[in-house]
């Protein structure tokens, strides 16, 4: 539940007046006003492209506004650079972390400090340990960042702000990469900071989190201010309504389905990590049945990437008797051959892996769809274009036409196109990573429908996502990965967010080891 805010009477810490920022072809912020009190936890809400990121980058000095005023403790300031923002006491934790993996935690933090700050701190490592203990952050200054989990990296980013005695902490979608337990830990830190008078600006898509922790919320839509509210007095549904303009279908709930015939098996899949930032896969076993969606939860970087690339064939190392598709060992086949045998793949990265950015949509269609469009080595461009056009209209992809370059599409539209292209192959098995990541509510709904329809046609879908709500919404059976291990697979109705959350944190690894020891 949301706490009431103390010292309401004091003057605002930050005030934004009529902030406007125009990008070529897009008015990102239009006359936005906002006010933050000391100690206030303030949510900034809106769909993708609503202008939230631009606004916080303006506050942090990364983006210069075209017009408008920023008042800090009642005085007008011009925040020309992030270092100026930090001098004022503004800290920011980015969505895509701005950490340097080849440096240690202490070195990463040192880079953000001015010489005088460094001097006044004295022993930086000591200070980090102190703050770590005070706030329960558990950050070791001597470790290299590449060896840290995503949750730990986020704590390093928060530490980076704390070391500078921050007065306003900006967090850009901080919970999207955390396990439920880690989220709880983060909220404890934020509440403690707030009680000490630090203001917090919190960007999130997850409305139940906003209602849980935020005192006030500002809602943006299409770059404009559309309203504010006290989340404690609202429900996720009413806030969502303000965000999208009409009542979004929240957790409609879909029919669960269960298949009987195994179409794909992974047997004792173990694979060494290819690079220092990778994860080693350890003894992974699972089956996919026709007509079901198997959801795999997990915090990024726990082996999802490796699992997908070895199944899709993108990782060209061969494995014998490990990957069985429809009774056939595909472990030694090339990615192209696996596709021809009925495997389709929607990777996490849309530009660069799901599609070639500089190629048109029809060319991108041809990339995974060569059969039928190529005769005696010649491409039947007319048919390709017709097909791309039909995908565009069927999945309502917003673009100029089949000749548009993939990179000119927004993330959500490109995702709908890629999804349509893969589904159009009538795959036996579809591997699908983070299908609605960064996609707005409308497009996400369309993607969900497409996945369910494919399932109901009898295909098996392996759905890998960090969005646990989405997994519970779509998946028929669930499992979690942690550090390259796969948890037991259970029916979605028979498990809980709490259980999956614990598995994401790796509790099952000890359990199974204990069982082995007993046996």
């Amino acid at each position: 539940m949301s706490e009431t805010l103390k010292n309401q009477s004091s003057s605002p810490r930050l005030e934004l007046l009529n902030i406007t920022k125009q990008y070529p072809g897009c008015l990102a912020n239009d006359q936005i006003c906002m006010r933050l009190m000391p100690g206030e936890i303030h949510a900034l809400l809106g769909e993708n492209g609503a202008g939230k990121s631009t606004l916080v980058k303006t506050i942090y000095g990364v983006v210069a506004p075209d017009s408008g005023q920023i008042l800090w403790d009642g005085h007008e300031v011009e925040i020309k650079s992030p270092s100026k923002a930090r001098d004022l006491g503004i800290g920011m934790v980015f969505q895509h972390f701005s950490l340097f993996e080849t440096l240690t935690v202490a070195q990463n933090i040192e880079l953000c400090l001015s010489r005088s700050q460094l001097h006044s701190i004295g022993d930086l490592a000591e200070r980090i340990r102190d703050l770590s203990a005070t706030y329960g952050l558990n950050v070791d200054p001597d470790r290299f960042v590449h060896s840290l989990s995503i949750g730990e990296r986020q704590r390093v980013e928060i530490m980076r702000c704390l070391v500078q005695s921050v007065k306003l902490l900006i967090l850009d979608e901080p919970t999207s990469v955390l396990t439920p337990q880690e989220v709880a830990g983060l909220f404890t830190v934020l509440r403690k900071l707030s009680s000490e008078g630090c203001s917090i600006l919190f960007i999130s898509h997850k409305l139940h989190e906003v209602t849980e922790i935020c005192h006030n919320a500002t809602i943006l839509r299409g770059g404009k201010f559309v309203g504010d509210c006290q989340p404690a007095n609202e429900t996720p549904a009413t806030i969502a309504k303000m965000m999208v303009g009409d009542l979004a279908e929240q957790d409609a709930g879909y029919e669960k389905a269960f298949g009987e015939n195994i179409v794909f098996t992974a047997k004792n899949l173990s694979l060494a990590a290819k690079h220092p930032f990778g994860t080693t896969l350890k003894q992974i076993n699972f089956e996919l049945y026709k007509g079901e969606i198997l959801g795999i939860a997990g915090v990024a970087g726990n082996g999802q990437e490796e699992l997908m690339s070895i199944i899709s064939g993108e990782d060209s190392r061969t494995l014998k008797n490990t990957l069985i598709l429809d009774g056939r060992d595909i472990g030694t086949q090339s990615a192209g051959l696996r596709r021809r045998n009925g495997l389709a793949y929607v990777p996490e990265e849309r530009l660069g892996r799901g599609a070639v950015p500089e190629m048109s949509l029809s060319e991108n269609t041809l990339l995974t769809h060569s059969r039928g469009f190529v005769q005696s080595g010649l491409v039947n461009w007319k048919a390709v274009k017709e097909y791309a056009k039909s995908l565009i209209s069927q999945y309502s992809v917003k673009c100029h036409g089949e000749f548009s370059e993939a990179k000119s599409l927004s993330g959500g539209n490109l995702q709908k196109f890629i999804m349509g292209r893969e589904i159009g192959q009538n795959p036996k098995v579809l591997i699908c990573a983070h299908p609605t990541w960064g996609v707005d509510v409308g497009a996400a709904l369309a993607i969900h429908q497409a996945l369910l329809q494919l399932r109901d046609q009898g295909a098996a879908i392996l759905l890998i996502s960090e969005d646990i709500d989405e997994l519970f919404l779509l998946a028929d059976r669930m499992a979690a990965v942690c550090d390259g291990h796969l948890s037991p697979v259970v029916r979605a109705e028979e498990t809980s967010i709490d259980q999956i959350g614990q598995w994401m944190a790796g509790t099952f690894i000890n359990e199974s080891e204990q069982q082995e020891a007993l046996a």
Binding site: S98, Q107, L111, P276
Partner: protein
Amino acid sequence: MDIDLITQVLFAAIKTGTPLLFIALGEAICEKTGVLNLGQEGMMLMGAVVGFMAAYGTGNAGFGLLGAMIIGMVMSLIFGFLVLHLGANQVATGLALTIFGTGLSAFIGSGVVGQTITGFQPLSIPVLSDIPVLGKVLFSHDVMVYIAVFLAIIIAFVANKTRLGLTIKAVGENPNAANAIGIKVLRVRYLAVMFGGAMAGLGGAYMSLVYTPMWVENMTAGRGWIALALVVFASWRIGNIVLGAYLFGLASIMHLVLQGMGWSISPNLLAMLPYVATIIVMVIISADKYKEKLLAPRSLGKPFDPRQMA
């Protein structure tokens, strides 16, 4: 081989490795910030010819060095403007710089071909140079050899122990993150590119002022390329670069010595020796692939445009 021959071979090895060391150090810093400058050979040739002409004109080798550094920086600024400011492709621009420098140096140097100058004289360090063998090998060189070693130590210190070194590494690993925390990415890259240019100029000047000393068209004979390879094989580690440069020097000398000793191997095959030996040794040193991936600047060759930060 007798002890005198060994002494002479080692002495010459250090001399031969020195120009390579200059260029490789400069390029290493440049690459650490994420900029790949393939124009080394061109900058080096320009440094050689301008250094020679300045020394020839003034009669002072010191001015030669100065001139070489300045022309190296000017050349690198052209490169920097194109790739950093205008976001041009680093590989293509670097290649163009080499072709440009090769042609321009031949053109402006045509008047001084065959002229001679007095280069730097050997500078025997008192006491130390009297040590048998080692004294001759290590302590009776010209001043440039000492400068190169001194610079290597300074650069290693800066790269590994200072905040400047951290900043350089940060910019080379993730320029967007560096920008987000307030590091002026383009400024750091410009400075690193110019430092690389000055060092390439010095490397060229060493060829025309000390090593030969004279100006001949295309006299660097691919050393700029070897330096580029050396930086990569040394995994951007200064210690390995020093080792690799002198190793290359040693192998270059050995091929002459072996020919002199009457080995019946084709001289063309022997001429490959320095390149092959250096690469083999560096590959062995850098065999731990896992660790090497942490050392490579992750954004090497990728342009960074602060205006696109939305």
